[in-house]
């Protein structure tokens, strides 16, 4: 008997413990009260350890969550930065569209004052060398743009076409020293030729010495060269040079068109002219 117990002591112990467990369980479920004589001691003994470990775990998890949150904030920052860039680009594009719209509206308004063949064009390139004043427009032969057509803007004369290809044309600006436009002083009707000057402005030459020209006078096209319609603004006189001798005088003219900033122009064919203003 003792030998049996000795040989099976583990199983017997386990069996006994199983029975004890069932008795504990039965007692607990019957009385609906938690029968646990050692719970107080165990819980109290474990409390400081549990508290310390829980605090450690809590600080580690808090640090981890903070780190994860920081990663989230960083990603959010990058996303917002990207969004700001996109919005800034959109705002810039909208501003550009608004400006273009304004300029085109002015061009359209100006074109309505002219009669004859005309073509709106965009400036797509500028001269590669600083001592020439030419631009390239995005309209050419295929669009009805030919050589020696007047190029104007709502603010005045821009230049004339010199070389034309199928879909683009080079425009010689009035500030180029090779340019010449037949012009008159609007107030006194004194006639001369407006040529480009090397300083980026224009000069009105071949004015008779006796003609009435003053600083501030407006210079307009005469229409006699067969290229520019009559009465288109060229610029204002900024200085008049009369020598002691000679038959002629020279006037410095500042173009009314900001040629270095202009973006859209109107190419006007021969025979075009300003409409008579109706009262």
């Amino acid at each position: 008997m003792l030998e049996f117990v000795r040989r099976n002591r583990v199983v017997l112990t386990s069996g006994s413990l199983l029975v004890i467990s069932l008795l504990l369980l039965s007692a607990g479920s019957r009385t609906q009260r938690r029968f646990d004589p050692f719970a107080g001691v165990v819980l109290e003994g474990m409390r400081p350890l549990q508290g310390a470990v829980a605090a450690g775990v809590d600080s580690v998890t808090t640090a981890w969550r903070t780190y994860v949150a920081l990663i989230g904030v960083k990603q959010e920052n990058e996303r917002l930065r990207h969004r700001i860039l996109v919005l800034e680009q959109q705002a810039a594009r909208l501003g550009e569209v608004e400006q273009t719209d304004k300029r085109l509206a002015e061009l359209l308004k100006f074109s309505s004052t002219l009669e004859g063949p005309m073509q709106a064009a965009q400036i797509i390139g500028r001269d590669a060398l600083p001592w020439f004043s030419t631009v390239v427009i995005g309209k050419g032969d295929a669009d009805g743009v030919h050589k020696n057509m007047a190029v104007v803007s709502p603010f005045g004369v821009v230049g004339q076409t010199t070389t034309v290809s199928a879909h683009s044309a080079r425009v010689l600006l009035i500030t180029d020293h090779n340019s010449g436009v037949d012009a008159v002083v609007q107030r006194s009707r004194a006639r001369g030729i407006v040529e480009g000057a090397l300083d980026g402005g224009c000069v009105m030459k071949y004015l008779k010495r006796g003609e009435d020209v003053e600083v501030g006078d407006r210079i307009v096209t005469s229409g006699l060269d067969g290229i520019f319609p009559k009465g288109i603004m060229i610029g204002e006189v900024t200085h008049v040079t009369r020598g002691n001798r000679g038959l002629l005088q020279v006037a410095d003219v500042k173009p009314t068109v900001a040629l270095d900033r202009i973006e859209e122009v109107l190419v006007v064919g021969g025979g075009a002219h300003l409409k008579e203003e109706t009262p």
């Binding site: 467990s21 369980l25 607990g28 479920s29 050692f38 829980a54």
Partner: protein, 154 residues
Amino acid sequence: MIALLLQTTVLPLAAVGRATPDLLLIICVYLGLHQHSVAGALGAFVLGYLQDTFSGSTIGLNAFGMCLVFTVVYLTSRRLWVDNAISKIVVVFMASVLKTMAILALVAVFMSVDGLWQTILGYLVIEALLAAVLSPAVFALLAHTQQVTVEEEE
């Protein structure tokens, strides 16, 4: 005690849904495999009892489960060779299922908790898998601790 501390503080962080790896069960299986003595059986009971104390369940529920697991693992390991890593993992998985089923049976007999069956069954496999995955590391740690203790005693 350390296992109980970890079970109640750290391991809930590794929970999958409501299923947490049962560290005390893995220790109980280790006792069943390597502690073929009365102390092993008492150890299993104490583990279950502590689990009951800290879990809020009726006292005896987990104690019974642990004792049953210990007994079955002990009897199995006496008749079958379960000393390689894979078989130990399988034993832990089976032990987890056995403990859960035993608890479910006791709940059915002694208590009437609506819906507890479905809840526990829903997590039975996940919990068993978590315990099985964790078991190689715990076994290695326990074996190392035991070896160090034996060396110190010698």
